[in-house]
């Protein structure tokens, strides 16, 4: 006849096995979610490194096309446009809103292609992911440089129709969304929405290469 201990041991093993099974599944699900949250940031970084590496050998248009694919698919420009225009957004009709989103896309793409135009051994390093409100997450990374201090690049990411997208970029503590919202509000207040659009078109034009590449 088996002792009490001999009955308990198999039961304990089964319970422990069940615990390990569910823990592993939870851990696996957590890792998978983190990878999904990180995905748009990783893709942006891969594209940035690529356009930096090929800046001397490829044309502005080629690099623009690469960035366009990332910006239009991995950034929620509609939400970003809504936030940067704050209370002025509601006063715009649907066509103007759509046009502004397209304009903002062009500005974002041109800015990235213009700024990341040379390669000196830079690389991006993922640091952490922190939860925020409303199912948003802060993805923390840094850009490491050979002869300079690293630059902190943090991204706010939100789920949009089952896809995680970037809604803000924070470089060394400066939130691009807040910066633009303050500027755009000031320009609209003083000169009107059309003046803002004109200014943004001029900026996009200034970011293009002076000679065809």
């Amino acid at each position: 006849m088996k002792s009490k201990d001999q009955h308990i041991q198999p039961v304990f093993k089964i319970l422990f096995g069940i615990y390990l099974f569910f823990s592993a599944n939870l851990l696996s699900a957590e890792i998978e979610q983190k990878q999904e949250i990180q995905a748009p940031v990783n893709q942006l970084h891969d594209t940035l490194i690529h356009i930096m590496e090929t800046a001397d050998s490829s044309s502005f248009q080629d690099r623009y096309a690469l960035m366009e694919s990332v910006i239009t698919n991995k950034f929620n420009t509609a939400l970003i446009s809504r936030v940067v225009l704050s209370r002025y957004w509601k006063s715009l009709d649907e066509k103007t809103q759509t046009d502004f989103i397209a304009l903002f896309d062009r500005l974002t793409i041109s800015t990235y292609v213009n700024r990341f135009d040379s390669f000196n051994g830079e690389s991006f390093r993922n640091i952490s992911i922190e939860p925020m409100k409303k199912n948003r997450f802060m993805v923390k990374t840094e850009l490491t440089q050979i002869d300079d201090k690293p630059v902190s690049f943090n991204y706010i990411v939100q789920n949009d129709n089952e896809q995680w997208k970037i809604i803000s970029v924070i470089a060394n503590g400066i939130n691009d969304l807040s910066l633009k919202r303050a500027e755009y509000s000031s320009v609209i207040k003083d000169k009107g929405f059309d003046a803002l659009v004109t200014s943004l078109e001029e900026k996009i034009s200034d970011l293009q290469p002076k000679t065809s590449q």
Partner: protein, 259 residues
């Protein structure tokens, strides 16, 4: 303390006092989006425009010439020298903020650079594992719970806040140059100003490329950069949710439709 030192001190105290009174009495003249952070916006914009004009026609061309004519290694040494002179203020504020380990390391950093770095010309401490920290009395007051107060744009000094401008006093007293009465003070101070402007050329060019309203851009970048420093490069994520509050409210009300 000599008469000239008392004069310097009194100038700084009167300046800060006037600013505090002006900031305290100012009516709120802000756009809805900036709230009360820029209650002196109209005055600040005037000072900003004056500063920008002087910078465009005087400081920036001088700084650009200085960069063209001075090898980078010498400019780096000049930067190191003046940064080292201001490091006693960093050390003081390390301790005032309760960062005792950092304070002790910074004492070593200052001593090491002053001796082995030849009066701070060479930053040997960073290579020795003691990188520079950035602390000042404005950050200390923030750690102690003081709000920033109104944004200020001060002629020649640039962007600041009522809280952060108080750093002028300890940073002046703790800078060994404050105690120099020789006429060498003037060309050395000029060199410091030109070198500082030269170090900001890239940032100012970036701003000129990116900004459609340079005043707002400068203000927002400065205020956010200060928050970044106060939290030693790790501000809490909760502060970043506020900008989405309108969009969140509309979404929860079911009225937000963006295609």
């Amino acid at each position: 303390m000599t008469g000239s030192h008392l004069f310097n001190l009194s100038k700084h105290l009167i300046f800060i006092g006037i600013l505090s009174i002006v900031a305290g009495c100012a009516t709120t003249q802000t756009s809805d989006d900036v709230g009360n952070v820029d209650s002196l916006e109209s005055t600040n914009r005037v000072f900003f425009d004056v500063n920008e004009t002087l910078d465009k026609h005087l400081m920036k061309p001088i700084a650009e010439t200085y960069v063209e004519m001075t090898p980078a290694v010498i400019r780096t040494s000049v930067t190191n020298f003046f940064d080292n002179l201001t490091y006693l203020n960093v050390i003081l504020n390390d301790f005032l903020q309760g960062k005792f380990d950092q304070g002790l390391t910074d004492i070593l950093r200052f001593t090491y650079n002053s001796i082995f770095g030849i009066a701070g010309l060479f930053d040997v401490s960073t290579a020795a594992g003691m990188p520079a920290n950035d602390e000042d009395f404005g950050q200390t007051l923030a750690v102690w719970g003081f709000d920033s107060g109104s944004y200020l744009y001060i002629p020649f000094l640039g962007p600041n806040t009522v809280r952060d401008v108080t750093d002028t006093v300890p940073s002046t007293f703790l800078n060994p140059f404050f105690y120099i009465t020789s006429t060498i003070l003037y060309p050395v101070s000029a060199l410091n100003a030109i070198n500082t402007r030269a170090n900001l050329l890239e940032a100012s060019n970036l701003r000129d490329e990116a900004a459609i309203d340079p005043y707002s851009f400068t203000r927002e970048a400065h205020l956010q950069q200060r928050e970044f420093l106060i939290y030693d490069g790790n501000p809490p994520v909760t502060g970043y949710d506020d900008i989405f509050s309108d969009a969140d409210d509309e979404e929860s009300g079911g009225t937000l439709v963006i295609e």
